[in-house]
């Protein structure tokens, strides 16, 4: 919101921005220094804002700013009328918060503790990134250490993530140099999800690299049973913490957080077990089977079917039922299906992944009040409906019990085949797959 307030101030309009207490420290600290550059006169309100009564809002407005202890409305009037201080008029030149390339030498125990104190890890032991280990990791790619992988804009500061910085996190995570091209591809999507809604990510690898680095796409592929799966996923976490500069309560605000962010649900698709006619996820995104590709998906929810299939209820029916509990945000769903499940779905007439996606798009229905009852949906789509955009405008007019089909875009419903064929198990998630990223480009 600071960019809106800044725009108004620069148009000559005195502005009093209001924020909830969860991001109060961020807007006064990091956001001011690295994003807006403007000492905006924020007023803080308690939480929650959404989902509470009018009486609660009246109490907030009649009460005091929990940070300054000043009466809310008096503070807002002051924000709009009080003369500026010297600091508020300043255009003093800016600078850079520099991080040295090398840390001061110390013992292994002290350095392990230092990384934790500096909040640069996932609080599990790391492999210390010595110059020798980082140099060895850099041999896993032809790209130069100083090459830019991306500039990380969030949460401000424009941090330059170089190949060498990625190598440092890869060493810390325990990765091998041969994993490095895949790690670099995934690093282009860093940092991981950061939202008060406690989102998470999923990393799916396709193509020949799966075999080259011995990723697991079979038994236990989505569990802690493979070094490549484990360290590729963990590197994304460590990159997000360090280069992403994500610190709980300061620059990241997931209320509960997500346990998936320890590994980002990293696995390879079991391409060898795909039913006839089913293409690997990367091929669906336009790559060839000879291309090595990483896909990073973003979502929240992860439901397991929990038990094997039964003959009286085909799998697509139970998948449909479980999808009714997903938010429908972005029309997104991602099905992780054991090859045995994929084979049965194929025998049910879903001879391509796309046919299954289209069937689910048409057959998953939820009461419209359930759809709008999700705050994330309300935040994202209410204003679009009020502007007349469909289908949201129609859905806003329907009686509460009316059924709608929220997964309107079948292209946002993806299926990945994974697992070791020890049971007919599937997971349905609300993860939205991004476009695949070439791993070969980072070899």
């Amino acid at each position: 919101m600071s960019r809106y307030a800044k725009t108004l101030e620069q148009l000559g309009v005195p502005t009093a921005p209001c924020t909830a207490i969860n991001v109060s420290e961020y807007v006064r600290g990091w956001d001011r220094l690295f994003n807006s550059g403007m000492p905006l006169r924020y007023t803080t309100l308690p939480l929650p804002i959404a989902g509470v009564s009018r009486e609660m809002h009246e109490a907030y407005v009649a009460g005091s700013d929990p940070i300054t202890c000043n009466p809310v409305m008096h503070q807002i009037v002051d924000a709009l009328t009080k003369p500026l201080t010297n600091d508020e008029q300043s255009t003093q030149s800016t600078g850079e918060a520099q991080e040295p390339r090398l840390l001061q030498p110390d013992t292994e125990d002290n350095l392990q503790e230092f990384f934790k104190q500096k909040d640069l890890t996932d609080y599990l032991p790391i492999v210390l990134p010595t110059e020798e280990r980082v140099a060895a990791m850099l041999k896993g790619t032809s790209h130069k250490p100083y090459e830019l992988v991306k500039t990380i804009a969030w949460p401000g500061g424009g941090r330059r993530l170089t190949v060498e910085k990625v190598a440092v996190s890869a060493v810390m995570a325990g990765a091998k140099p041969e994993y490095f091209p895949a790690i670099l591809a995934v690093a282009t999507m860093a940092p991981f999800g950061n939202s008060t809604t406690s989102m998470a990510n999923m990393i799916i690898v396709n193509g020949p690299v799966r075999k080259e680095i011995e990723m697991n796409s079979g038994i236990g592929a989505m569990g802690p049973y493979n070094r490549a799966n484990a360290t590729l996923g963990r590197t994304f976490t460590l990159l997000s913490r360090s280069a992403g500069n994500l610190h709980a309560g300061k620059t990241t605000f997931g209320s509960l957080g997500s346990n998936l962010q320890y590994n980002n649900c990293c696995f390879a698709e079991n391409e060898e077990a795909l039913p006839k006619g089913w293409e690997p996820l990367s091929v669906q995104f336009g790559y060839s089977r000879n291309d090595s590709v990483a896909t990073v998906a973003t979502g929240w929810t992860y439901h397991s079917c929990a038990g094997e299939l039964v003959t009286t209820y085909p799998p697509q029916m139970l998948i449909r039922d479980y999808m009714r509990s997903l938010s429908g945000m972005g029309s997104a769903a991602l099905l992780c299906a054991d090859p045995l499940v994929a084979g049965i779905l194929h025998s049910q007439g879903f001879t391509t992944k796309e046919l299954l996606a289209r069937w689910l798009s048409k057959n998953v229905s939820t009461p419209v009040q359930q759809y709008w009852g999700n705050g994330m949906i309300a935040t994202a789509y209410t204003s679009l409906g009020l502007q007349g955009l469909e289908p949201y405008a129609t859905w806003q007019r329907l009686p509460p019990d009316s059924l709608i089909e929220p997964f309107v875009d079948s292209k946002a419903i993806n299926t990945v085949v994974v697992g070791g064929q020890t049971n007919t198990i599937w997971f349905i998630t609300d993860f939205k797959a991004g476009k695949g990223i070439s791993i070969d480009a980072w070899r």
């Binding site: 690295f34 001061q104 424009g158």
Partner: protein, 133 residues
């Protein structure tokens, strides 16, 4: 450990972090000491934003002024909008000569609305905007 080349002296946020780093530095000895190893730093340098001043406050009260109250849309239609509606009523009761305009910004919370900002510049004297969560 962290070096600040900053023109924004006195910022508490940075000062706290610098003190933490200093404490850690004093616990360490110089390079080359026995049993000590050198490692690379995973953190990246951050560039600060250009400083921008607030617009001068040219009136000392809100009497006879037009104040826009803008809902950015966070939390749906009954979250920030309702808080701003309560504020609108407070202004009506406490500064009755002030004119208030309560509006919802177009698009989702992250979508800019330059037309609205221009309208506020042309028709308003001040703005209350919120609520970010």
């Amino acid at each position: 450990m962290t070096m600040w080349v900053a023109g924004t002296a006195g910022v508490v946020y940075l000062a706290k972090r610098r003190v933490q780093m200093s404490i850690l530095e004093t616990q360490q000895t110089g390079p080359g000491s026995s049993g000590k190893i050198t490692v690379l730093n995973p953190a990246c340098s951050s560039t600060m934003a250009e400083r921008a001043p607030l617009t001068p406050r040219t009136f000392s009260d809100l009497n006879d002024k037009t104040i826009f109250l803008v809902d950015i849309g966070w939390g749906g239609p009954k979250a920030g909008y309702d808080v701003l509606d309560v504020m609108k009523k407070w202004l009506a009761q406490n500064i009755p000569s002030a004119r208030t305009v309560l509006v919802a910004k177009k698009g989702s919370f992250g979508q800019d609305d330059p037309e609205l900002w221009k309208r506020i510049r042309d028709e308003g004297h001040a703005c209350i905007i919120g609520v970010s969560c």
